[in-house]
């Protein structure tokens, strides 16, 4: 060893980038799904929801293993786990962790528990699935003995954090039962230590200061219905006196003053009348101080099917309504008016983040029984709210049992529930298994059973598929455009961030 090499240890020898590349000529494709995106591009989505847009030429080169390792696209594909160029990589374990994270909505089992405390209602909405104009409490109210059994069943769930949702009919018509269930679940939970959130879905027409003070004291949130401006809301939601709008507006203010400013959300249902008035509907939400709106299409259940001529419309008509609404909401945000579209927020969370959402209507497997469950006024247990509505049309396919007759195991581990869940794994459903948007979408056996007579359904004629494909496509188009101001809005929705929040953060 010469003196020179001794004084210059190997430490000072640096190797070029080339010597750290793996085996670019032998890369393998990792699992992904793809679809044409516009005239000359493709969108690729992998098993954990990461996506990339590629020009057709590049995509072909990549798929036929002819992509040059020097191209930035090659590195992008590698970093996003679309290709691997080592024989075995510990990063596949990282990919497994990401997959578990995306599917972590399954952890803990049933988190959302809905209680139909009465079927009675003071409204007679055309699109309503189930409610009754009746004074017959005995026939349509949930009995305390049933309520107690239902809460006992709920508390058997392994989930650490659960939500109790009281609905109807109009649940405030049976408020004493809600109080009983709140207090009974509070008392029983002292030993269990679960986190229990509570919410009442109500038209608010029967809200009183007493009721609202109770909600405030027991931290119960409220969710109400607001279909748009007065004329539209009252047309959609008839009640004696035709004053649904006036009552809900007045009581939203009352809720905010008693329970708290952020304690009430509103949901809207789109009817045929709504179709050409999406801007008016959104403006109404802005005017009433709401910062989010859920542009919801009508469900093909209950009275909605019977009254289809009056309220119904084609999926394409709804999509036109939705696209215009979304574009208007983005315009509002650009002008500094905060408004989140909830369905877009749910999908964006699935598309842009490594995390799942808690939205049980768009999951694979679906939330039937394992994500959400419904306890009907008569003690019957259903796999979803839609399943319960279907039962009102004499189709009890999705009835899981009754709180008086069946054990937890008989209800939640039944072969019947298993077969529903099996029909909701879109990874294996025809038409979904190779769909690029599989990770972002879900499956809805109840919908397909109701509309196509088959839980798995037929994708080419499925309205569920048509609607979700179109909306996911629309969001990806926005994302692909790379408009920075719009991405700022989208991320703000995903993280519930106020528009001004990010910009006004003071220097530290």
């Amino acid at each position: 060893m010469s003196l020179d090499s001794a004084s210059k240890p190997a430490r000072f020898t640096f190797h070029p980038l080339e010597s750290y590349r793996r085996n670019p000529r032998q890369y393998t494709l990792l699992p992904f799904r793809f679809m044409r995106f516009g005239a000359s591009r493709f969108v690729l989505v992998n098993e954990v929801g990461e996506f990339i847009f590629l020009d057709e030429e590049i995509f072909r080169a990549f798929a036929t293993k002819g992509l040059s390792a020097e191209l930035p696209t090659y590195l992008d594909l590698k970093a996003k786990h679309f290709l691997a160029d080592e024989t075995s990589s510990p990063l596949l374990d990282v990919l497994a962790t990401k997959y578990r994270t995306k599917k972590s909505f399954l952890r803990g089992f049933t988190k959302l528990h809905l209680f139909v405390v009465t079927l009675r209602c003071d409204h007679s909405c055309h699109y309503c699935q189930v409610s009754r104009q009746s004074e017959d409490r005995a026939a349509f109210d949930m009995k305390p003995s049933t309520a107690r059994m239902a809460v006992d069943l709920m508390l058997k769930t392994p989930a650490e954090a659960i939500t109790m949702e009281f609905q109807g009919g109009e649940p405030l018509l049976n408020f004493p039962l809600i109080k009983f269930m709140v207090e009974y679940s509070e008392a029983r939970n002292q030993d269990l230590g679960k986190r229990i959130d509570r919410v009442i879905t109500t038209n608010l027409s029967k809200a009183t200061p007493d009721i609202l003070e109770y909600c405030r004291d027991h931290k119960i949130g409220l969710s109400t219905s607001l279909d748009g401006p007065e004329w539209l809301h009252n047309a959609n939601r008839p009640r004696p006196g035709n004053d649904s709008y006036a009552r809900v507006i007045e009581n939203i203010a009352l809720v905010r003053s008693i329970v708290g400013p952020g304690s009430v959300d509103a949901l809207m249902t789109t009817t045929r009348r709504s179709l050409s008035h999406v801007r008016d509907i959104i403006d109404e939400y802005v005017a009433r101080g709401f910062r989010s709106i859920f542009l919801r299409s009508i469900s093909p259940y209950g009275f909605a099917v019977k009254t289809r001529g009056k309220t119904g419309y084609l999926t394409d008509e709804f999509l036109e309504f939705y696209r215009e609404g979304l574009s208007y909401i983005l315009e509002l945000n650009r002008r500094g008016i905060e408004m989140t579209e909830i369905y877009a927020k749910i999908l964006l969370t699935k598309i842009l983040t490594p995390f799942p959402t808690s939205f049980t209507d768009l999951q694979s497997p679906a939330g039937l029984g394992i994500g959400a469950v419904v306890y009907n006024y008569d003690g019957d247990v259903y796999a979803s709210d839609e399943a319960r509505m279907l039962a009102e049309m004499k189709d009890k396919t999705f009835r899981l049992g009754n709180v008086h007759d069946d054990t937890y195991d008989a209800i939640f581990k039944s072969p019947r529930l298993r077969s529903m869940i099996a029909a909701s794994v879109n990874e294996s459903l025809p038409g979904c298994s190779d769909c690029a948007y599989q990770l972002y979408c879900g499956a809805d056996p109840v919908f397909h059973h109701a509309t196509q007579g088959d839980m798995m359904g037929h994708r080419p004629t499925s309205e569920f598929c048509r609607k979700n494909m179109a909306i996911i496509n629309e969001l990806l188009r926005y994302i692909e455009s790379g408009d920075e101001a719009m991405m700022r809005i989208f991320w703000g929705w995903v993280y519930n961030r106020r528009l001004a929040e990010e910009a006004s953060c003071p220097a530290k």
Partner: protein, 401 residues
């Protein structure tokens, strides 16, 4: 505030040939025990001074020419004729090396930048390493680290563990952290590691089991693809090991920070790296983007590494704002405000350790001098050509930045 650099070592002549001594500097005669080193400055009244009980003596006085003090110090481990002792404060912790007459301040009272330099060894060889590793056997240093920890005042707010690569100490690293937990229960501990060792799940679990109440590890990641990261750290498989390490630490709830150095070999993919961090490491508590420190290998590899920060603002802004949009906690370290685009200012932190921190002549008139983190002392000669003083008018002009 400019030019002044805090000294961390000094030299003198040893009057002793034994083992090195670690002790707390005592500038008066009050604390007198085997944990204290008496420091006497020239000019101090030393008539009838007693040095009995001290662990050692450090002075800039020439004891060979001072009969009385020389006699008082006889038999005491001593370094005299030190070229400077003014930088030493009461309570500083010193290491006196009698072989070389070398005096190092291991801990400086009141500084927020104290660190334990765990080892000189490293299993990587990063292109821009500011303290190039030395392949020496330093296994005996652990005893000194434990001694240091036992002397540090428990009121200390933060303490770093750095290197070299601390995890190369293996289980001895855990002894050091456990000692910190015992002696310094309220001191925040921040360790810098390349994270590779944590690919061993048991090692990650071992760290977590120490259950230190306020511990964070900062781990660098330089690219979203293995080849580019491995090139920067000059080590095969480093990226894979670090990535698995991140996940193992997260599995055991160890708090993690990611550190990214922006330079010519990393800047182009910074926006992609930011996306990669969010989608693969969303659990990290903080992401810091840093500038080059003109020390060690950085000078050797200057041609490979140097790019004027002004020329990577596009990438940096995309990366930083991309992470902020995604709800991540982001900072920019060691970048001068005059080089950063205005939207990035709120992420800039004054991060340079006090003993390395300077400002240029051009900075003196700057309107945001107080807010700016300045430069590394090592950047005095090599720095952006665009550093300039900002005027109050600059700050209010609408198109600024």
């Amino acid at each position: 505030m400019s030019g002044e650099v805090i000294r961390r070592h000094t030299y003198g002549d040893a009057r002793w040939s034994g083992d090195s001594v670690i002790g707390i500097a005592s500038l008066s005669s009050q604390a007198r025990d085997s944990d204290h080193i008496r420091v006497i400055r020239a000019g101090e009244k030393t008539a009838s001074v007693s040095l009995e009980g001290y662990a050692a003596l450090l002075t800039d006085v020439d004891l060979d020419g001072d009969g009385e003090l020389g006699r008082a110090a006889s038999g005491l481990p001593t370094i005299h004729k030190a070229n400077q002792v003014e930088h030493i404060n009461e309570g500083d912790i010193l290491r006196l090396d009698f072989k070389k007459g070398f005096v190092k301040s291991l801990y400086r009272v009141g500084s927020p930048h104290n660190s334990i330099f765990a080892t000189d060894r490293c299993n990587s060889n990063c292109l821009m390493c500011s303290q190039p590793p030395k392949d020496i056997d330093d296994s005996e240093m652990v005893a000194e680290h434990l001694r240091l920890v036992s002397l540090i005042p428990p009121t200390t707010q933060t303490l770093g563990i750095s290197g070299g690569e601390p995890t190369l100490l293996g289980a001895d690293l855990f002894r050091i952290i456990a000692a910190c937990k015992e002696h310094l229960p309220v001191t925040r501990l921040h360790m810098l590691s390349n994270g590779r060792r944590f690919a061993d799940r048991e090692y990650a679990a071992g760290l977590a089991q120490l259950n230190h109440p306020d511990f964070m590890v900062g781990i660098p990641l330089y690219a979203d693809v293995a080849s580019h990261h491995d090139f920067v750290v000059q080590a095969h498989d480093a990226f894979d090991q670090t990535m698995v390490g991140f996940h193992n630490l997260a599995r055991y709830d160890v708090r993690i920070e990611v550190r990214v150095v922006a330079h010519k070999q990393t800047y182009e993919r910074l926006p992609r790296l930011a996306e990669f961090i969010y989608s693969n490491l969303p659990f990290v508590e903080h992401v810091a983007f840093m500038g080059l420190e003109m020390m060690g290998y950085t000078k050797t590899n200057l041609k490979t590494l140097w790019i004027d920060p002004v020329d990577y603002q596009d990438s940096l802004e995309q990366a930083v704002s991309g992470l902020a949009l995604r709800g991540m906690n982001v900072s920019i370290y060691n970048h001068q405000l005059c080089l950063l685009r205005r939207p990035l200012w709120r992420f800039a932190r004054k991060s340079i350790s006090d003993f390395k921190n300077i400002y240029l002549e051009a900075c003196q008139e700057c309107a945001v001098l107080e807010e700016c983190g300045g430069l590394f002392k090592s950047s005095e000669q090599i720095h952006s050509q665009h550093i300039h003083a900002l005027s109050a008018a600059d700050l209010t002009s609408p198109g600024f930045g």
